[in-house]
Structure formats: C-alpha cells, structure tokens
Symmetry: C2
Subunit: 460 residues, 2 copies
C-alpha cells in the first residue's frame, strides 16, 4: 500500500478555517522552513512514500464577485511557492519523496524541464511532478495566461508533455558526461542533441540545459477526472489521484483507468492509483469524537462558500435565497448533484438550501465519503476495505487538523498499519529513487506510451 500526504503552503491546507484550531501551527508555519523540515522528518520517520504539495496561482474572487471572502477566511491565500520548500526538506531527509503541482499553463516547457531536472538532481531522484492544466479564470487576472477551452487545454498539455519528456530522455545520451580533463571534454557533444520542435503551441531548438538526473523524467502524477483528463492521465501519468465516491463506482473507475492505459499501449500495472481522503483520527473513540467536533466548530462557513464558488465559477451570493435551484446555469447542476442526492425529496430546493449545504462541513462519520474517521483500528479497517473492494494501490491522505493530524497519522495510524503488514516498517534502501519506491528497485526510467516514442511527431 502506498501512502502520500497531501499539503499546500498555505495556512491550514485543505481545511477552510482550521487555522483557528488553538493547537494548529500552520498559520505561521506555512511560511517557515523549520515547519516544513520538521514535517518532512516526521513523515520520513513513519516511512511515508511522499509529501505532495498542491498549489494555486491567484486568489479566488467569484463569491461576492470579490477576493474579500477568500482573504478574510484564508481560502488558499496567502500562499507561497511550494517548489521552494522542497530543497530544504530534501536536505533534511534521505528517503522521503516529494511531489508538487506545476502548471503547463504558466511556464514554458524549457523552464519546466529545467526546474524538475534541477529538483531531481538536488533531491537525489526523489521528485514527482503533478501535471496540472490550470483553470485559468484566476490566471487571467494575474496576467499569467489567456483562458482557453477545457479540451484544448489538454491537447496543448499533450504537446507540452511530449516536449519536456524529450528534453529529459532524448537530449543527453547515457554516457555523454565524460569529465575528461586531458581532452578538455566535460561532455561529449556528439552525444548531446538539440530538441527540435515546431508544433501547434510550442517551438524549440535547443539542447536540454541539464545533464541527466537520477530519474531523468520526474515521477508523473495526474488527477484529471473528466473524460479528456482521464485519457491524458492514462497516456502520461504513472501515479493517478482519484476521488472515488464509493466502492462500486470506485472499482469501475479503477478498471476504466487501467483499460485506458492499456489502450494507449502502456502496461496497466504501470499506473499507481491513490485515493484522496481526509483523515480525522483519534487515539480512542472519545478523542475521535472530540476531533470531529473541532472540525465542525472551526470550519469556516464563509471559507467553504468562497472555495465552492471559486471551484464552480458560480457566485451563490448573486441569487436570492428563495430562488429555485433550477435558476442556476445548467452546466453547474453537475456540481450540486451530491447535494441533490442527499437533500432530494419533498419540496423544491432553493439557492438558500444549496448555500447552507455548501457552508456546512460534512459531519465526520466512519462511512462519510472521501473521509477516514475514527480510531486507528477503525481507519485501518476502512482502508483495507477500500483496497480490497476498489483495487486502488493506496491513499493520498489529508490530515485534519494539519499539524496535530500529521503527528497522529505518523504516531497512531502508521503503527496500526504496520502491525497489519499493510505499511512498511523501514524504507528499502535498494529503492534509491521515488520511481523505484513506487515500482520496485531497478525501475529507474519513465516509459512513454508507444505512440509517444516516435520522437519527432511534431516536427524537427
């Protein structure tokens, strides 16, 4: 079973309002190297596979047509650049992996390739890239990019991926670096190639700026959930984050993902599928209940609303409370199906009902969707059930509250998983890179889908 921990360099990552928990340290810690170094060492002591940093560019400003609610309730703002936290955390650890969201919409491929080669060198092969094709509503306001339609974004990301992988895999041959002082040859130029490319979105004619790093291509993560996103993931990704809403639908989704990989000419077992889940844990039932109460008490109604509106693009403040839900744009009804399913029968639902639903944190219970709740035994039982019934490979955990939750994950949950033989008790030192950690010692190189191997599909 693979265990990642998901975070973000913001106050109280993932849990709107939890910076108010009196024992949480993330409100100051998120911008301190000590905080992140300590967290990385804690996770390494529990033999976690990787610490994964989400990211955002810009400030949500849909709710009330203003950034004010996000700023007041700290909805992913303020936010510092997670890429900068990784080198310090890597210098203080030896085995823990790191992954980070990095958008194909904000950075040129050449820059992206250099960034991850640099991180791979500096971490000694412990880096993963969560490929994000950003929703650009935010980015337009920040002058970072032009908005483009969803599916076209993925076409563009396909070209981007092919290009950065060529820089990593094809530019510097194995053995190109010589360090031969006598002939004044640092590297053999006959073995270092320009990547020539003139495609629909990108142009390039240059060798990669970095010599080969331990993994060359970072471990590729993806989290697409649309049909186009799943195809993208099946084509490129080695590790996929999912948010399965239940066992049966989950099992189907997992099989579908492996099928898609097979259709791309890839080994379906070359995909690791991790289920994202909140984790609210207590040493015993009483402490678990206390944590659940804190979660409900400190969650921010305004923050939850601002985030929901930012995600869906729908300003719930712009409709009267008594308006029927059918007044909302049709495209947004998909976002409220969860609500409709729960609240359904009896009377016509209103925007006011939806607002209340959005602003209310889900009550933690052992069967809640996308949540693991309870004692270490209860949570481990539930994790086993997820593994068996859906055939996922592991979890991407979001501990709540961030600081105490991370400690309890390491000190309470992992030991229980270790007792059951579900989690490792030590790192296998033969697995020197993050890719080897996921796929076994010796599996050092990224394998491209068959159709991507041509090299010059886009010209050159």
């Amino acid at each position: 079973m693979y265990l990642n921990v998901l975070t973000q360099c913001i106050p109280a990552p993932l849990f709107e309002g939890m910076w108010r928990h009196p024992e949480d340290q993330s409100a100051l810690g998120y911008r301190s190297l000590d905080y992140w170094v300590n967290m990385a060492q804690q996770l390494e002591s529990a033999c976690i596979d990787a610490l994964f940093f989400a990211d955002i560019h810009g400030v949500y400003d849909v709710y009330q047509d203003s950034p004010a609610p996000s700023i007041q309730h700290s909805v992913q703002v303020p936010a510092i650049d997670p890429v900068l936290v990784i080198p310090a955390a890597a210098a203080a650890t030896r085995n823990l992996g790191f992954a980070v969201s990095y958008s194909t919409s904000y950075h040129a491929p050449y820059q992206c390739a250099r960034l991850f080669s640099s991180l791979d060198h500096l971490t000694g092969g412990r880096i993963g890239w969560n490929i994000v094709t950003s929703d650009l509503r935010l980015a337009v306001g920040t002058g970072l990019a032009e908005q483009c339609p969803h599916d076209e974004r993925y076409d563009r990301a396909d070209e981007y991926l092919d290009l950065v992988v060529r820089l990593w895999e094809d530019s510097w041959e194995a053995g190109a670096v010589r360090h031969d002082a006598a002939s004044d040859t640092f590297a053999d130029p006959a073995r270092v190639h320009r990547v020539d490319h003139a495609g629909r979105w990108y142009r390039m004619s240059a060798p990669h700026q970095c010599e080969p790093s331990p993994q060359r291509t970072p471990v590729l993560y993806q989290a697409g959930s649309s049909d186009r996103g799943l195809t993208f993931a099946a084509r490129h990704a080695e590790l996929v984050f999912v948010a399965l809403s239940g066992f049966r639908q989950g099992r189907e989704r997992v099989e579908d993902l492996r099928d898609r990989a097979r259709r791309q000419g890839r080994d379906p077992e070359g995909l690791r599928i991790l289920q994202g889940m909140c984790l609210i844990l207590g040493e015993d039932a009483a402490q678990a209940r206390a944590r659940a109460e804190e979660y409900e008490r400190f969650s921010s109604r305004g923050g939850l609303t601002a985030k929901w509106c930012g995600w869906t693009g729908l300003d719930l403040a712009s409709y009267p409370a008594e308006a029927p839900l059918s007044d909302l744009p049709a495209g947004q009804m998909r976002s409220v199906t969860d609500f409709l399913r729960q609240a359904g029968a009896g009377r016509e639902l209103t925007v006011g009902d939806l607002r209340e639903h959005v602003a209310t944190p889900r009550r933690p219970n052992p069967h809640a969707r996308l949540m693991l709740f309870g004692t270490p035994e209860q949570v481990a039982d539930r994790m086993e059930m997820w593994l068996e019934r859906t055939k996922i490979d592991g979890f991407n955990l979001m501990p709540c509250p961030p600081t105490l939750g991370t400690r309890d994950l390491c000190e309470l949950l992992v030991p229980e998983l270790q007792r059951r033989g579900l989690a490792r008790k030590s790192y296998d030192t033969a697995e020197r890179t993050l890719r080897e950690r996921y796929f076994g010692s010796g599996v050092t190189r990224y394998v491209r889908a068959a159709e991507n191997n041509g090299g010059n599909r886009h010209g050159g």
Copy 2:
C-alpha cells in the same frame, strides 16, 4: 566594506575549464545540496554579506554556429536552477544573505513577485534580486521569449519593476493580517488591495498572493553598463555591480551613478556599488604563483572562445584567420577595444590575432584589470586602494578555483581584512534583514524613486 561572493550552479562557475583542477569539487558539487550548504556555512563563518547566484537560460551556440563547443568545455552548461539551492542553504545558516539573477524576460510579474515574497519569508528577510533584462538570443531557441531591441527591453523592465514593487509594497497594508479566530478573520480584506494595471506590456487585476514578508521588496541588485542600463539601475537598484577597468575611469563611473540616482530623486547614498573581481590568492608568494600557473594551465581555450562568441554574438570561426579585423561588423569593434589597446601598434591585426587573444587567459598579476592576485596582504592592499580611489562600497568576488578559492577567501583573505578593520568580525544581530545589513539596522523598507511613487501611473 561590503563583500559578496559571486557563483553560479554550474561546473566551475566563471572560470572556463577550471573544473579540470584536480582539487576542485564544483563539477559534481554544483548539483548537490551538500555542496551548497557547506559553501554557505563557510561564507557565514567568514561573515560575508551575501552569496550571489548568476544564472543563464539556454546554451551558447554562436561559436562554430553550434552548441557543441559550449557542451564540450562546459561553458555555463549544464546549469541547474539556482533559485532551488537558496532554501536549503538558508535553512543551514542564519545571517548570510542570498541574491539571485532572475530575468524580467522569462517570467510574468505576478509569478516573480510571488517567488521573491516566498524566498523572503523562507529566508527570514535575507533575499536579494539581481534584475536581469536578458539578451534573448538564447531564449528564442528555447521557446521562452521573443527577441526585442535593447532599449525597449529596459522600457519594458521599467513597467515590470513598477508592477512587482506595487505588489510587494501596496497590496497588503501593514496590520492586514489579523489571525482573529473569534471573527473568523485571517486577514482584514479592507486592508488588502488589488493591484490594477493595464500598461503597454502587462495587465493585472489581482491582490498579491503573499502576506508581507520581512523585507517586502527584496534588495534590488542591478548590473547594467549601457547608458540605458545605468539609468535603469539608478532608478530602481539599491546595489549595483560594476566592472570598473581602472581607478580614474572608475571614480568617474561611481560619481556618475550617484548623480543619476540624485536626478531620479533618490538619495545617492542609497546605492551600494560593488566592483566585480576575480580573486586568485595564495598563502604566500610561491602559492600565489602556483595558483596563477594552474589558472593558465586549466583555463579552456575552446571554452573562453565559445563564451566570448556567445556574449558578443560574433562567430570567430566564420572568418579566415588572415582576414583583417576591419572585416568584423562595426558594432562588434567595441568588444575588441581591450584587445586593440593591448596589441595595437606595428602591423594590421587579423581575426587570427583576435582569436588568440580571446582564447588566452589573462596572466594573473597584481595590477591586472578586474582581478585581485597575490598574497592576502597584497590583495588587501589592492582592495584598500580600490576603495579609496574609486569610492566604491565593496566587492563582488569570484574566487578561483571555485572550491579552494572560496576556502582561501574565508580562511586567508577575510582574516587579513579583519585585522585591518576593513571587514566585520561578527554579524550585527540588530541587522535582521539583508537590507539592514547593507543600509543599517532599522532600514527595512525599499524606497521608490520619487516618480515611481504615484502608484497608478499605468492605469488603475
């Protein structure tokens, strides 16, 4: 006197071919966190002000119309991203400052502002930004940017600077961050403002993504030498790197820079001016001579030529050796004045003569231009002379060979400067930020030139 050390995350920074020195560790070390952490700790133990990282995007490919000579002789390639080295070095030090070149041509202003705010938070206020407006010959090949004329580049950089400084200084008011759990107020949105801008090159309408960091605006470094570059430096920079070729011309240049700052409505003493100099040091005269011999022996003729051609844009391989120098494009003659001055009289000079000049390392001597050479006493004498005669504020030193040279700088030269009362023996702990280190305790904030203070010059 202020002392910076200049480096780059490449094998043998600044000295083509010196990776061949048998005791140099930079050829492997440049891509290792341990190497940089050790160097930072060494510099901190000598109370150096800041470690400054140059950078490059792309691979020089002018000489022989190919990247091959740069790759063979390691002319600023391979190169990793220096921004990533700083957090690890900062986590291992408490007082040393860091600065890094970052180009206004490759990154959107919003991204730049967030990067340096993040670095300023993570380093506790120890970051400087060397503002670079890149020569884009390289970047075009890498798909990073379009080339644009030199002076227009600076106009564009002026707009860029005004914009990022507004994000740092004007978006989040002092006291905006409240951490008030009772009212669910992380920050007071009435005190956080969008930066609205619609200028010639950039558009933006968003609040800054980061809360105020210790320095807000990083210490601004600049190294322009053209007339337009000097005006840019005088308008924005707090610390200017110069390459003065002698005492008299140097004194005039220093006065001119302070005059330009005055004409921008700035305090001319608000500029620190550091002279860039190679440093070749020996414990005694015999060791200095040995170091000089190594420098000549290990310098790479091909590497020096590839770098010169990359800088000037002139491919010396494309002319016959016997061609008269007057065959070169007129615009390039400025690059060869140094050569002409030395080699001048007697016969007509040829491209072959120039090639030989370019490929030959300057012989170290105590009076060499842009070089400090000799024993600690000789070098300290020379540094004193520079300070007195030109009124510079300090030095940006490039030790050669990189690894041993840095050690000797810390262990031989700094103690000699300390004996003379020219270098500090301990950091002043009242100076908590890099800006305070350069301008005194309490000087925490960047002061904009008067004409930049309007705020909404470009719209709003």
